[in-house]
């Protein structure tokens, strides 16, 4: 049956009970009457920021509510059968047989104590759909199709013996193994580096096409979904904003929210003329205690006063380690860090209060960067008290000023971190750094845990603050759109070395070295067909 309707959701309502701290539990509606139809062989992209209800809707295709979510209204039909109120026995037959699921973090989803093969064929065998032999043969075929190395023996490995990208492909094989009608992909490439992501995306795309399943592809990255899906549904706050073909959403978005999502990566910062350096990192090598290999090898770079140096690289390239060396958390093995005309002590203990004050740090996860038991007033007020000895009215006046600078009202001071949204939390962290009147702020992936529109707001705020207070930023990121938006100078890092370093315009303009080329060309562009073109180009080059 080509093009038969696999999934038909109408008027879906999903509720959950929320337990706000210090208040009575109350019911909240997560999804308000969403309709969705999906035919065999089609891919529907669900897109939206966190809290939009993407994953909740995706899981409802298996009639599953995660974390206490209840499917309270509407109809969910899979292959013409209503499943919302299906019995546990019916659901067991459905899940892992007709509908399968690929989760975001393959590393957390595989059982580390069992071989990959056993896990990949588990559902096929337990549903008595195939015997063990057939299932293994089928799985090996899928491993081959997904481009995994040594498909015959790949399944004998344990999850920790393969890379993140391979694990994500193995999970796709697991989902496809029982020959499902519908596969739900929940952010399958979000946790991967861009250079790995491109291969996984391509493997998923080919596998979907070859096995002719229907797929729901959930992601927050519009550029990714543009490569893989036929239709896109934009969600916000549990409601559908816009639904159309891939071409229509990307090239002719109708709703203002969709337009904002499409244009989100368009921020462009014009680089400033060169200035004298305020931080000079001089031939720094570093390794962690008890290890035998250097995490940083002979790294040198300058941060100019009042400007932004972006450090780009994938995970494991040594970006965050460099931040630890500069802050003194990890004393370098050799080399020095100069700051404002003086040498910084290698270890934290040897630094003066002024050294500590003038170099501030903002973290990736604002959640864990703030003490959950302190109010915003305490969090921002502490550096004021600690460095400047401010007290009472003077301190609260300054806290109010800072809250104003980060575009939050002074009534936020009484709140606890749990009562703030992701973007607001990051703003409070910025205010805490700002309170110390620093000359340099190290920003470690400060926007990567945030939704694109919120991240844009944070970047704009950082630029505004830089213009006002002439601080230098050392901006660590893996996202090249962020580099484009904020950097004056760029250093590309790979395996602990600086492979390319200079003014932004120079670094991001060809000719490139091999690694920079790979990195730059792997970033998904907001164009349909980008994935196919890039893969073709790379194959032609080989």
């Amino acid at each position: 049956m080509p093009d038969s309707l696999v999934l038909d959701i109408s008027g879906l309502v999903i509720e959950a009970t929320s337990y706000p701290p210090g208040a009575r539990p109350r019911d909240v509606t997560l999804v308000h009457g969403v309709d969705l139809k999906l035919q065999r062989g089609r891919v529907l992209g669900l897109i939206g920021e966190s809290g939009a209800g993407k994953s909740t809707i995706g899981l409802s295709a298996m009639s599953y509510g995660r974390g206490g979510a209840r499917l309270t209204g509407g109809e969910i039909q899979v292959n013409g059968r209503e499943i919302r109120l299906a019995s546990p026995a019916e659901l067991r037959a459905l899940r892992g047989r007709e509908v399968t699921y690929v989760s975001q973090s393959a590393a957390a989803s595989f059982n580390p104590a069992r071989r990959l093969m056993d896990q990949v064929i588990e559902t096929s065998v337990s549903h008595r759909y195939m015997n063990r032999r057939q299932a293994e043969d089928h799985a090996i075929g899928l491993f081959r199709k997904l481009g995994l190395p040594d498909p015959e023996t790949f399944g004998n490995r344990y999850p920790h013996q393969v890379s993140g990208g391979q694990l994500q492909r193995a999970m796709t094989a697991m989902a496809l193994c029982p020959g499902p009608d519908l596969v739900v992909f929940d952010e399958p490439t979000t946790a991967l580096d861009v250079t790995t992501q491109i291969g996984v995306l391509r493997a998923i795309k080919d596998a979907i096409r070859d096995s002719h399943v229907a797929a729901l592809y959930i992601t927050h990255d519009l550029a990714v979904v543009a490569q893989i899906s036929d239709e896109i549904m934009v969600l916000r706050h549990g409601r559908m904003v816009e639904h159309g073909t891939c071409d229509q959403i990307i090239n002719h978005p109708r709703e203002p929210y969709t337009r904002a999502l499409v244009s989100v990566r368009a921020l462009n910062h014009v680089e400033k003329p060169p200035e004298p350096a305020i931080v000079r990192i001089d031939a720094v090598s570093a390794r962690y205690r008890g290890t035998q290999s250097d995490v940083l090898t002979d790294v040198s770079m300058d941060v100019a006063a009042g400007q932004t140096l972006a450090i780009v690289g994938e995970s494991g390239s040594g970006k965050s380690t460099l931040a630890r060396v500069i802050t003194g958390l990890l004393p370098p093995k050799s080399g020095q860090v100069w700051f404002d005309g003086r040498t910084l002590s290698r270890a934290l203990a040897g630094r003066s209060r002024r050294d500590l004050r003038e170099v501030q740090m903002i973290y990736q996860m604002a959640d864990t960067a703030m003490n959950p038991r302190h109010t915003v007033d305490t969090i921002i007020g502490r550096p004021l008290q600690f460095y400047f000895g401010m007290k009472g009215a003077e301190k609260s006046h300054r806290v109010a000023e800072l809250l104003d600078q980060i575009e939050l009202g002074s009534d936020f001071g009484k709140r606890f971190p749990a009562e703030l949204s992701g973007g607001q939390k990051q703003r409070v962290c910025i205010a805490r750094a700002l309170a110390a009147k620093p000359k340099v702020i190290i920003c470690d992936e400060v926007t990567s845990a945030l939704d694109p529109l919120v991240a844009d707001g944070i970047l704009k705020l950082l630029l505004k603050l830089q213009a006002e207070a002439r601080m230098a930023y050392l901006f660590i990121t893996h996202d090249l759109a962020t580099v484009q938006a904020i950097a004056d100078k760029v250093a590309v890092m790979h395996r602990g070395r600086v492979v390319r370093y200079g003014a932004k315009g120079d670094v991001l303009t060809p000719p490139f070295d091999d690694y920079t080329d790979l990195l730059l060309s792997s970033v998904p562009k907001m164009e349909i067909g980008w994935l196919d073109r890039t893969i073709k180009l790379r194959e032609a080059a080989q």
Binding site: Y19, G328, M370, N371
Partner: protein, 271 residues
């Protein structure tokens, strides 16, 4: 906030015990140390729970005994928590050899049965309530050290603790302002359990004769004094034993509720 019936029961019974102990001179019908009837009288309107092996009123001795048992247990648990959690946090914040030395000392202390150490110490030291409290508190603090060190380890790797260090904060700020508030919840729940262990411990010591000394009343000692009656079918020894059990269960119900409630705040086990 909905309080489950089990916790209400636990709270009520525990509060009852505390009130009886605090207002012992007002509620107890007789003094705890003078014979008021014959030996091992059955319960009667004059002696609601009967009399003991020398004719003292058991109810009165239970009430006064509760005062001493709970005071010693509370004192030693407070001491063990104060000491154990401070040292546990300190070990985490300092790390390195400080942590190693403290942890190994605790390992050594835990490898010898607590009861035997307590018996040896108490037979050397002069017997008084404060010595009893200190010995029990110090011995019990090893367990609190382990727990608070484990909890603090989880907190200490958080970015906000690193941020405080980068700011240049001293150890006392890190321990008391950053780590303690976030480690308090599991410690509070544990406090209830340790308190119960302390009640059982002091009762055991008294039963063995090295705890509270006569004529002062305490529950373990009362079991000991009356245990010979069991042979003659007298139940006087079972009354204080049952009292210990009831207090243990009711405090446990409260501790369990505290644990559930506080974890649900953090999005854990719901309530």
């Amino acid at each position: 906030m909905r309080v489950p019936p089990s916790a209400v029961l636990g709270l009520a019974v525990t509060a009852g015990f505390v009130c009886l102990a605090v207002f012992a001179p007002l509620v107890a019908p007789y003094p705890y140390d003078s014979a008021m009837g014959k030996v091992w009288e059955d319960p009667s309107p004059a002696h609601l729970l009967g009399t003991d092996m020398i004719g003292r009123d058991i109810l009165s001795r239970l009430i006064y005994g509760g005062q001493i048992t709970m005071l010693v247990a509370l004192g030693s648990s407070l001491l063990s928590f104060g000491m154990g959690s401070f040292l546990g946090f300190f070990a985490v914040v300092r790390g390195g050899w400080v942590d190693q030395v403290l942890s190994r000392i605790v390992d050594i202390m835990m490898s010898v049965p607590t009861l035997i150490v307590a018996l040896v110490l108490l037979s050397i030291l002069p017997l008084s309530l404060s010595v009893l409290i200190v010995v029990m508190g110090v011995l019990d603090s090893t367990r609190v050290f382990r727990l608070s060190r484990a909890v603090a380890m989880d907190v200490a790797v958080m970015d906000y603790v690193e941020a405080a260090r980068l700011r240049g904060e001293g150890q006392s700020w890190v321990i008391f302002r950053e780590i303690l508030p976030n480690a308090l919840t599991p410690l509070v729940a544990e406090f209830g359990l340790r308190f119960i262990y302390a009640v059982l411990f002091i009762s055991t010591l008294s039963f063995l004769g090295l705890g509270v000394q006569p004529p002062l009343a305490d529950w373990g000692g009362m079991v000991k004094e009356n245990k010979d009656g069991l042979i003659y079918g007298e139940v006087a020894a079972l009354v204080p034993a049952a009292t210990i059990a009831i207090l243990a269960i009711s405090v446990n119900l409260v501790a369990d509720w505290v644990l559930t409630r506080t974890t649900s705040l953090k999005g854990g086990r719901g309530a």
